[in-house]
């Protein structure tokens, strides 16, 4: 394998660019970027590239949109998680409870913060099951990282009660959940911090990597602001040796512009998801997960289950539909998790979920014809 092939994302884009109903919609999203370019032209003349004015503006706007007191722009969603854990004092020997059904970054952030990830199984809604969390708490447990999978906020009042009982920190992985609500609250309401990614594939996305942390805790916000910038109080004084993870000013400009469209982006996804739910609910062979009545789920990804998943995904791709699998292997079964000594069968729901999930495109550029084509293709598959 050559080094360039190790940049596997290149191949991923090549593989799917021939499909017409695609997960990647950025071409449409940024077809008219003149307003962004205008602001970038001003930025480059000022040279205000790191922690500039647009970062402060974006942070203020994002805090307001997510109903939090503070927002801190950082380099990525991964770093948002890592910095939050470090800011809460997570270190070597600590245990952090999370879901085995997530993207690698959740676990990467826990491990690189020095802690051991301890998994608790999920429920039918794909989110960590609060009852399972309580079973794996030990004297070493220091934090819980719930993931709001596919934009559905976890049962945070229940998780918050556990955290309070055992004096644990809560760092929410809200990378899928920009604009989501549950029990009337955004991510972060019941936590120390909530962490968002603005990777190009996220609902609120920038032109590269980017992330943001929200918190209601003044002291934590101050600490995170220092930690993302070498621990510097000012140019010449370093209060703590920390990290370098800043949201570029340029990316904050892109984020600010997209933030104006976030309601439309979210509403389109909810509308497309509701359409698929309705049209596919009765298809024998498809399982639509339970939808929480008290939630505004924002569908960063739209995930269904089928026992014939692999055949179905192939069938969809053959019919020009970019079906994906998020993700086929649970975290405890990854080669990287070998040292934690979990085995197959430890998390039966997560394992069954990984064996059967597939994702359909639900972004705001999907047309009604395309939605109909997706439904017809799936119905045809199961009728045959």
């Amino acid at each position: 394998m050559t080094l360039s092939e190790k940049n596997f994302l290149i191949q991923q884009y090549r593989d799917t660019s021939r499909l017409s109903i695609n997960h990647n919609y950025l071409y449409d999203q940024f077809a008219d970027s003149e307003a962004i370019f205008d602001e970038i032209r001003e930025l480059v003349v000022r040279g205000d590239f790191t922690l500039g004015e647009a970062v402060r503006d974006f942070e203020a706007q994002f805090a307001e949109v997510s109903g939090a007191k503070h927002a801190i722009g950082v380099g990525s969603g991964t770093d948002a998680l890592f910095l939050s854990l470090k800011a809460k004092g997570i270190q070597d020997g600590d245990e952090v409870i999370t879901s085995p059904y997530t993207f690698y970054a959740t676990i990467g952030a826990i491990v690189t913060a020095g802690a051991k990830p301890v998994f608790a199984d999920i429920g039918a809604d794909y989110n960590i099951d609060p009852a399972e969390i309580e079973k794996v708490i030990t004297p070493k447990t220091k934090a819980i990282v719930p993931i709001h999978w596919s934009g559905l906020i976890c049962d945070m009042p229940a998780i918050g009660a556990i955290a309070e009982k055992y004096n644990l920190a809560i760092v929410e992985d809200a990378c899928h959940a920009i604009g989501a609500l549950r029990h009337g609250h955004s991510a972060g309401a019941f936590a120390d911090t909530a962490c968002y990614s603005m990777h190009p594939l996220k609902n609120l996305n920038v032109w590269g990597d980017g992330g943001v942390i929200v918190t209601n805790d003044d002291e934590l916000a101050r600490k995170l602001s220092l930690m993302r910038n070498h621990g510097l109080v000012n140019r010449d004084t370093c209060e703590m040796f920390a990290y370098n993870s800043r949201l570029d000013t340029l990316q904050a400009i892109v984020a600010k512009h997209l933030l104006k469209k976030i309601d439309h982006i979210t509403d389109s996804r909810i509308c497309n998801a509701a359409f698929f739910d309705r049209e596919l609910m009765d298809v024998d062979g498809i399982t639509v997960p339970p939808r929480a009545a008290d939630a505004k789920q924002v569908f960063h990804i739209y995930v269904l289950r089928s026992e014939r998943r692999d055949e179905l995904v192939k069938h969809l791709i053959d019919h020009d539909i970019d079906a994906k699998i998020h993700y086929p292997t649970p975290m405890h079964m990854q080669p990287a998790a070998a040292a934690f000594q979990y085995k197959k069968g430890d998390f039966p729901i997560a394992e069954a979920t990984c064996d059967s999930v597939f994702s359909l495109p639900v972004h705001e550029f999907i047309t009604d014809d395309q939605r109909q084509h997706v439904v017809a293709t799936i119905r045809e598959f199961f009728a045959a």
């Binding site: 940049n7 590239f49 990525s76 969603g77 590269g208 080669p335």
Partner: protein, 368 residues
Amino acid sequence: MTVTVPFVAIGKQYEEFREEILQVFDAISKTGHHVLGPHLQRFEEAFAAYCGTRFAVGVGNGSDALTYSLLAHGIGAGDEVITAPNSFVASAWTIANVDATLVFADVGDDYNLDPEKVEAAITPKTRAIMPVHLTGQIADMAAMEDVARRHNLILIEDSAQAVGATQNGQKAGSFGHTGCFSLHPLKNLHVHGDGGVLTTNNEEVANKVRQLRNHGLINRDECEFWGYNSRLDEIQAAIASIKLNHLDRLNNRHRQIAKRYGDALSGVVRVPVVRDHNQPVFHRYIIRHESRDELARQLVERGVETKVNYPIPLHRQQAAAGLDYKEGAFPVAEQQAREILSLPMHPYMTEDEIDHVITSIKDIATTL
């Protein structure tokens, strides 16, 4: 007439490359392919060729290049890493970040680690030396390589200030096991935000860093080890490629300005010491004067912006309290911290601006 001489002029460089850069924004934003794509690959190949190394790996910033250099060589808890106390804080925190013990050694007249002091600081726990090519002049790498070889140590070059600098014709970043570069906006080769790149001749290290920067992934669905997320964005890589084509010319302008300063100010203030066989790139042009603060104050009055890189040595930072270094532990670095002053330095300085800086320093120095 009031003359103002700014310390840097990032905006002026943009004017030079404006059309090319705007095309990059437009082209990449249209594809929607922003992370780990063909522009990064092209920049990595060009940068490796420029530095004379087999591999270059783009990362999110210079600090992460240092962190991954340490991790890729298995350096961690219980290990000691020796570096300079007069650097930017990132050299120090990256060592602390991998749980290794931070050990400082004093510097020489050239602001770089003194090889004899390095050797004196070596213990059985020492695993690596991290020389910082401060101001854009390469540390004495023949001596560093000798020390590293004799004690079987990893050599990590903090080349953040030294892109394009040479020693005996060899480029910064090609001496050590890895070379670590920042592409921060203030650097000689810079992007429009944070960025970094790591060089190495070791394929295993290059592959490890490529995984470390991307969640430890082998492919989309398989994770070999838990890693980080620190990638050089496609847009930034494309901008870096554009500027790399012009780097030698821009660095030569730094050298010309340094020569003008040196010729005029030698004997007035202490001008930089350039070691034999070195071609620095003068990321910073640092003079020394006993009445530094007064000199700086009066220069501001004359519209000349200066900086101090850096006024508080790392071992005297609050963050270093746990290391128990006392005032006086590194007398050379401490003395320099009281006297150093960085003069305006960027490729777009006009002859009038250079003259104004020189005349002002000469005028003020006679009164101090």
